[in-house]
């Protein structure tokens, strides 16, 4: 509803400041002070909620003369418009606009995420098994470093779950067969060789995968709420727990040694890398 802020100001400040004391409608169609104040009470509450209080004064005129609808040409500085804006935003203040999909008309909204990276050849379960056989031979020949390098140089980046899990088992088998005293010098040798940094990144990926797997295995029985209100995961059946605990301790000690050699950068690379094992 267009209105002149000067009229509003006049009406709001009361009858003394009214320029036209005769009671006849002034040029801007402002009602006399008495009628304004009485009519304000009769404005429906819903309309008063939607608009600023200054505007309700204007609305209070039931049938304004047609000429009053045209706004004056030269508007004085809008000191009162601020309050109108504030009233509107506080009424409409919600987070609903955050859920608007502003990309809904964008033709490039959805794209094939696989186009972002070069393709990696798929590894089949049979290849993983063949590698496992070779690694086992190296282990029997006491060449643990060769075995470790062998399985780290051929990670399964693209393959089905069976292939991925089979390769994880191969890596874990190698890790468990290496003595604690041999870990550090072996890792340093691998790190300083050609492509060694990459190898340790792969090792780190398998360490995390191994930890994730054993964590999934651990809670065999569901949580049992106890009378005290506490709940205990897994209860006391430690038979399977012990073996995963042992596996976890191997992984943790390897993790510590890998971070010592390859630094925190290695962990960052595992987290950012799009090639998952």
């Amino acid at each position: 509803m267009p209105h002149s802020p000067s009229c509003v100001l006049a009406a709001a400040t009361g009858p003394t400041s009214l320029p036209n004391p005769t009671g006849s409608p002034p040029a801007h169609g402002l009602p006399s002070a008495s009628s304004t104040s009485t009519h304000t009470f009769h404005v429906p509450i819903s309309r008063r909620l939607n608009l600023a209080s200054e505007t309700t004064l204007q609305l209070s005129e039931p049938n304004p003369p047609p000429s009053t609808l045209s706004p004056p040409r030269n508007e004085p500085p809008k000191t009162h418009t601020m309050s109108v804006i504030r009233e509107h935003t506080s009424a409409t203040l919600s987070d609903a606009w955050r859920t608007i999909d502003i990309d809904s008309l964008d033709p490039d909204k959805v794209f094939d995420i696989s186009t972002l990276h070069p393709a990696i050849p798929e590894t089949s379960v049979n290849e993983v098994r063949a590698l496992h056989g070779q690694v086992r031979q190296l282990l029997q020949g006491r060449d643990t470093e060769g075995a470790l390098r062998g399985c780290l140089e051929f990670p399964v980046y693209n393959g089905d779950n069976a292939a991925r899990d089979a390769h994880l088992q191969t890596v874990l088998e190698v890790l468990q067969s290496i003595k604690a005293s041999e870990m550090n010098p072996m890792l340093v040798r691998i790190f300083n060789s050609e492509g060694g940094s990459e190898c340790l990144d792969v090792l780190m990926k398998y360490l995390y995968k191994g930890m994730a797997n054993s964590a999934n295995v651990a809670p065999k029985s569901p949580m049992k709420p106890m009378a005290t209100g506490f709940s205990q995961i897994g209860g006391r059946s430690m038979a399977s727990h012990d073996s995963t605990g042992a596996a976890m301790s191997v992984l943790l000690s390897w993790h510590e040694k890998v971070v010592e050699v390859a630094g925190l950068g290695c962990i960052g690379r595992v987290m950012t890398d799009w090639r998952r094992v």
Partner: protein
């Protein structure tokens, strides 16, 4: 090596900083304001606050010759601040992006600037005389995610951009009537707008934090979130590059990098200190830190009396005070920039970070 010049401006993150050409004025992005500091004797004093942005200011850049400041913010706007005797006068930029503006840099010619945004576009902005405002043209293809950083080639036409889709790309931002045709080079011969001159991805493909052209413009370096710095030597248009050399480090990721000359890169980031890389087309490697380690002061030379020990035990529950890092910056370094150079070698550079410090380092 001279000790670094430390200016602790406030206890608040500095998203970006920029010095004027005479190094007497410093603009920093703090919160939703750009603050202008002037050099008084040996310290910087707050001179002005530019307050037109209403969300976090992400980047600020002072053009060396004209003294114009450009800033961009998460409120999706960029503003050019024209210096005048009464202060800085803001000028509108029509960015036309509907996500945060993340990074802004003037081209060396100072007739254009590039604004990266979360809207998967780079807005190349130039001044349109007839309408008296800055308009933009968008580099759009083939960007797949937020642009995190941009860097200009010395010819003011080529632009390198790093993105959260893990690619560093080199674009042509040639604008008719603004740029003169660049001579053909290793990046390409004909360079119409939005020509993709190179698109690079390193092995583990972290999102890119920083890109930079070498001083000659014939090599590109980028740092990614996988703690790596990768250097690319292109061999010519439509050919595979001569060499892509990735250095994966044991450190935390680098947020910013500059070339100090053709064979040395300075990079700094989450490790709160700057590192030097040396190399050539044959290979690159990490050399070491810029900062001299084991500096006196900073808790090391603290009195080691029994009284002090028990006092520390009582106050903090431990003997050693380990609340301070051994580096000058006490938090992540977010930007490093060239400060002084002679004969094609950067001799001093400045760094700013999350700890509210601006530090000037001698190489």
């Amino acid at each position: 090596m001279a000790s670094p010049e430390v200016h602790h401006l406030f206890h608040h993150p500095i998203a970006d900083h920029s010095f004027s050409a005479d190094r007497k004025t410093l603009a920093v992005a703090k919160d939703s304001n750009v603050e202008i500091y002037g050099k008084v004797a040996n310290s910087f004093k707050l001179k002005a606050q530019l307050k037109d942005h209403d969300k976090t200011v992400t980047s600020v850049d002072i053009a060396p010759k004209s003294g114009r400041i450009v800033s961009c913010s998460q409120d999706r706007n960029a503003i050019v601040w024209e210096p005048s005797p009464e202060g800085y006068k803001p000028a509108l930029v029509l960015l036309r992006v509907n996500r945060a503006a993340t990074f802004v840099r003037w081209s060396p010619s100072e007739t254009k600037f590039a604004v990266g945004s979360g809207d998967r576009v780079i807005a190349i902005c130039y001044f349109e005389e007839e309408n008296d405002w800055w308009v933009s043209k968008h580099l759009k293809k083939p960007i797949r995610s937020t642009i995190t950083t941009v860097a200009w080639h010395p010819n003011s036409v080529l632009l390198a951009a790093g993105s959260a889709d893990a690619h560093a790309r080199v674009f042509s931002s040639f604008i008719k009537g603004v740029d003169s045709r660049p001579p053909p080079g290793v990046w390409g011969e004909r360079l119409p707008f939005n020509t993709v001159c190179g698109e690079y991805l390193n092995n583990s493909a972290g999102w890119i934090h920083a890109v930079s052209f070498s001083p000659s413009g014939d090599a590109l370096a980028f740092a990614a979130h996988d703690s790596s710095v990768t250097v690319v030597y292109p061999s010519g248009p439509d050919q595979a590059p001569k060499a892509i050399l990735a250095v994966s480090t044991q450190l935390l990721p680098f947020m910013s990098l500059i070339w100090s000359n053709e064979s040395e890169i300075i990079a700094a980031g989450y490790d709160c200190e700057a590192f030097k890389f040396h190399g050539s087309e044959a290979g690159w490697g990490l050399v070491g830190t810029v900062e001299a380690k084991g500096r006196p002061g900073l808790g090391d030379a603290r009195e080691e009396s029994a009284l002090n020990m028990f006092k520390q035990m009582d106050l903090k529950g431990k003997v050693k005070d380990d609340t301070q890092l051994k580096t000058v910056h006490q938090n992540t370094i977010s930007t490093i920039r060239e400060y002084e150079s002679s004969g094609g070698n950067v001799t001093k550079f400045s760094s700013s970070g999350v700890d509210g410090r601006v530090v000037i380092w001698s190489l």
